[in-house]
């Protein structure tokens, strides 16, 4: 196929000198780190500083146009985690150029827009601008990433920043729950996608996307991998049935909606489908899933948009619809459809970002987005209204705008699929376009026309209407939207720049140049006829909107995706609650019992089947025998001790005995560590014991101790046998020999134990000290919360108020949790370090 030829013959240019690609991506993060510190001095101008990295990215992309125009790519690789095959491979080709244009170009405008959207002195500005810039950088990385795992990383970063940005106003419940919903749905999809990537990468033997697409693997596993990848793409792009998060994400400030939830992030799924489709469109489940979900989204989004009275939600459902449209085009996977899809990507990015910006202007100036209250804003704000009309017309697909050209290409491509299902899809898309025209008109009329009081049950009191008194927005505020409106007109009348961009994006996907060119006029063809029908019917639907509304109201309510999400989340939480109730009931003896029984039951069976006990020596020296005897006596006495304090001292004695054994065996390092741990352990035990009664509780029932004794003895025997067998079971060369040889030359130390801890296994040690810190914080938090708790009365009783009954039933239940945590802390120390 041509793809393979292409990948071999096309030039790939490695950037000379320095690392501009990485530097660009990191530049976003670096500037973002600075923003919160300069926000006080700069005020709203902080957003102009934030616009610098995307602007630099634009300039860089344009300066590399020549490489892209030659059909080549700028490639840069860096090893990251070689053992996982994780290279941070960045690859800038024609399709990336298109996406970078959207991400960075619209990014610059959005930052300028945000500079007017916020008021100087708004306390969230520093955090907000930094997060938005981190998002921008993640999205930039996403469209450049060539390694699938790196792509996943950037993908998740956009999910997380989206979560933070939707929840910007964290005092609003709707913002918080909307943010969480977006994170859960896109994050869940992302997790599925990771699974898909791994299956795909393992089948192909490489995680490089360009290599996989050049030589696509096949098989059942690959089919499943593709389904998983699609789960990620469809959730990210808010496709049916995962679309419920997008309308709720509209609780975000409008710059976020304009940038993330219309122009860029939600296109990540479309981007992925676009990349994969040329290689996988004909493979198993790909086309039915993508086209089916896309078509359903296009129709459902359009239908729902007509029911909204909040103009931002009209656009949100419109976005679902348009994303569905793009999914259909890329999912069809023919050359013509890809060509149309690339055109629509540009067109949609431009008009939808502008529309959201205008919604923000309306909201900002009038404090409402309800189209039943917005009254004749157009008369007062002619420039805003004209801009809105132009971009909405582009969305509706009216000539001579870029949206019209894109729709023409789409209809043409679906006409040319040459398959029966192509015609069904074509009909669906035409119906979707009718709806698009209708909701575009609804948006313009609702925002800038007279108040739609007829859509209410009763007439609106004139006092509530806004419009005649709304303050006029500043020029800087509407300028970004005007720029986009000019672009959509300019690219419509002079499609050459858009044509060149689309042509090279197409080249990057298919490895050849498209036969078609963008133009307003292709002659009297079926596509033009269908466009006309869509516009006509859409206009009719708008004129007869009352009747349409009544009809919609009579349609029985479909089970909504939001309801499904709510029920699912509720079920999950309740399930987790029930499970926790069963598993974590708070009784230390039962925890210990379960742990020990598991320890005995699972490995004991194979152990007893085939015990290979090596020949034993009683003791290597009299000293060993003496220490051993001491330890045995101490251990037995500890088990019989009445007083907690005595028991701890005796257990400590066992530990000291162990240290003495290490000493005798010539392991001073272990001996020291063991001694110190024991000492500190006793001190901490003593501190804990101040909160406990001095004596162990006597068993309330005779015989209730029998199972405990049985478990204890069984565990002891098991550990004893296990140790014996383990010692004799060595079949491989011990690893210690290699460590001994390598310690001095490589680790630069003669103390092998220490070299292992800090050098050979340094990564493990980092994990361990983090566990240590987390355990300490956990203990502090539990103890602290008990002390500071509102109910202090019980605590004083435990401490041993002279008259109190220390073994009273009130105290007995509350204690074990503390001690349990304490034991975990010590346990996490002991085996880890004792062995090391």
């Amino acid at each position: 196929m041509c793809r393979e030829v292409w990948s071999a013959s096309r030039p790939t240019r490695l950037p000379e000198g320095g690392t501009p690609l990485f530097a660009l991506v990191l530049g976003f993060a670096a500037v973002a780190a600075v923003l919160p510190f300069v926000v006080r001095r700069l005020g709203t101008r902080v957003f102009y500083l934030a616009a610098v990295p995307p602007f630099a990215a634009c300039i860089w992309a344009l300066s590399n146009w020549s490489t892209v125009a030659d059909g080549g790519a700028v490639v840069q690789d860096a090893e990251w985690v070689p053992s996982l095959g994780l290279t941070l491979g960045l690859r800038f080709d024609g399709f990336s150029f298109l996406m970078v244009g959207l991400v960075a170009g619209i990014g610059v405008l959005v930052f300028f827009y945000a500079g007017s959207y916020f008021h100087s002195g708004d306390p969230i500005m520093g955090k907000f601008s930094a997060t938005l810039l981190v998002f921008s950088g993640s999205m930039f990385g996403l469209v450049l990433a060539d390694n699938l795992l790196a792509l996943f990383l950037f993908w998740e970063l956009t999910s997380i920043t989206s979560y933070l940005l939707i929840g910007t106003d964290d005092r609003k419940v709707a913002a918080r729950s909307g943010a969480l919903q977006a994170l859960l749905i896109t994050g869940g999809g992302g997790l599925a996608m990771l699974g898909g990537f791994i299956l795909l990468g393992e089948s192909a033997g490489t995680y490089s996307m360009s290599a996989i697409l050049a030589d696509p693997p096949s098989g059942t596993v690959v089919n499943w991998a593709l389904v998983l990848v699609l789960l990620g793409a469809l959730t990210k792009s808010a496709q049916v049935p995962f679309h419920s998060w997008l309308p709720r994400a509209m609780n975000a400030p409008t710059p976020v909606s304009a940038y993330l939830h219309s122009a860029t992030m939600v296109k990540a799924g479309v981007y992925l489908v676009a990349r994969f489709s040329p290689a996988f469109a004909d493979v198993g489940p790909w086309r039915p899933i993508v086209v089916g979900a896309g078509l359903a989204s296009m129709l459902l989004g359009g239908y729902r948009a007509l029911r909204q009275t909040d103009i931002k939600l009209v656009l949100a459902y419109g976005t679902i619809s348009q994303l569905g449209f793009m999914m259909v085009l890329f999912g069809v996977g023919t050359r013509e459809a890809t060509f149309a899809g690339c055109t629509l990507l540009i067109a949609h990015g431009i008009f939808k970002a502008a529309l959201f910006m205008l919604v923000g202007v309306v909201d900002h100036q009038t404090h409402t987005r309800d189209l039943r209250l917005l009254d004749r804003l157009g008369a007062r704000w002619p420039v805003v209204a004209a801009t809105g009309a132009v971009v909405a017309a582009s969305m509706a697909g009216l000539p001579p705008l870029l949206g019209f050209i894109a729709k023409e290409e789409a209809l043409y491509s679906l006409e040319k699929t040459g398959a029966a299902w192509g015609w069904i899809v074509l009909v669906g898309v035409v119906i979707g376009s009718v709806l698009t025209v209708a909701y575009s008109a609804r948006f313009v009329w609702g925002a800038f026309g007279p108040a739609e009081d007829a859509l209410r049950d009763g007439p609106v009191p004139t006092a509530e209407l806004v419009g005649p008194h709304a303050p006029v927005p500043s020029r800087a505020f509407i300028a970004p939207a005007v720029v986009l409106a000019v672009l959509t007109v300019a690219f419509g009348l002079f499609p050459a720049p858009a044509d060149a961009t689309v042509a090279h994006a197409f080249d990057a996907l298919w490895g050849e140049y498209p036969e078609r060119h963008l133009a307003l006029w292709h002659g009297l063809k079926l596509a033009l006829l269908l466009s006309g029908i869509a516009i006509g019917l859409g206009a009719l639907m708008f004129v007869a909107r009352r009747r349409v509304e009544r009809l919609q109201a009579r349609v029985p309510r479909l089970p909504s995706a939001q309801g499904g999400y709510d029920r699912g989340l509720k079920g999950l939480l309740e399930g987790a609650d029930a499970l926790t109730g069963v598993v974590q009931h708070g009784s230390l003896p039962i925890y210990l019992g379960v742990i020990l029984t598991t320890l005995i039951a699972l490995p004991a069976v194979p152990l007893l089947m085939d015990p290979e006990i090596p020949s034993l020596t009683f003791a290597a020296s009299p000293m060993q025998a003496l220490i051993g005897a001491l330890m045995i006596v101490a251990a037995l006495t500890a088990a019989l001790a009445r007083r907690r304090f005595a028991a701890v001292i005796l257990v400590g004695t066992v530990g000291y005995g162990m240290a003495a054994l290490f000493m005798v065996q010539g392991a001073p390092d272990l001996a020291i560590t063991q001694l110190l741990i024991e000492t500190l352990g006793i001190v901490i035990f003593v501190l804990v014991f101040r909160h406990l009664p001095a004596n162990f509780e006597r068993p309330k029932l005779r015989g209730s101790q029998a199972p405990r004794i049985a478990i204890a003895v069984a565990a002891a025997v098991f550990v004893f046998v296990m140790t014996l067998v383990a010692v004799g079971a060595r079949t491989e060369e011990p690893i210690s020999r290699e460590y001994l040889e390598r310690a001095a030359p490589e680790g630069g130390g003669n103390n092998v134990v220490n070299v292992i801890i800090v050098d050979f296994r340094g990564f493990d040690t980092v994990g361990e000290i983090f566990v240590l810190a987390i355990a300490a914080i956990g203990v502090a938090a539990i103890v602290g919360s008990r002390r500071r708790g509102p109910d202090d009365g019980g605590e004083v009783g435990i401490e041993g108020a002279p008259g109190g009954d220390p073994t009273g039933p009130d105290n007995g239940d509350a204690e074990p949790s503390d001690v349990g945590t304490m034991d975990q802390v010590l346990a996490s120390n002991r085996p880890g370090r004792g062995v090391a």
Partner: protein
């Protein structure tokens, strides 16, 4: 019960700095001799433990007036950074570097970059011990904010148990 043992007090004060020195010795010598950041940190923890036994939380604060979470956090940060620096320099994660030089008077000195890592471990262990001492050691019902109340001299907490 509310009394401090003078002998214990005096002994602990005398030992305390020696113990800290020993802990530092363990830390620095650890790469070649028995010891290391973990053992060193434990020795220092025991030193603070002794101060605690002698005079309670107030005594520990007199010895070190840094919040335990900060000690721990600095330690974690130090360990992480030591691990990440080689990555930034183009080496593998946690690759160690060895520098030898001979300053006047004390002769040849060999420094390995893992010393910083070990120091991080040391600080985490000390921070953990301080945190446990301050949290578990506070008498119940007492307000942590009133610790500096001079009217009630700290009782050795051990007394209460070994009563």
């Amino acid at each position: 019960m509310n009394r401090r043992s003078v002998i214990l007090d005096a002994c602990v004060r005398a030992e305390f700095h020696t113990l800290l020195l020993v802990s530092l010795y363990f830390l620095f010598a650890g790469h070649n001799q028995p010891g290391g950041g973990f053992a060193g940190g434990l020795v220092a923890s025991c030193a603070f433990g002794l101060r605690f036994v002698a005079g309670g939380d107030r005594e520990v604060r007199r010895a070190i007036d840094i919040a335990p979470p900060i000690v721990m956090g600095v330690g974690l940060l130090l360990a992480m950074i030591t691990g990440l620096v080689p990555l930034a320099l183009g080496d593998n994660l946690f690759e160690s570097a060895i520098v030898e030089f001979a300053p006047p008077l004390i002769g040849k000195v060999k420094l390995t970059s893992v010393l910083f890592f070990d120091t991080g471990v040391y600080l985490v262990v000390v921070g953990m011990a301080l945190m446990l001492l301050s949290q578990l050691g506070l008498a119940d019902g007492s307000n942590p904010d009133s610790e500096h109340d001079e009217a009630s001299p700290g009782a050795g907490p051990i007394d209460e148990v070994v009563r």
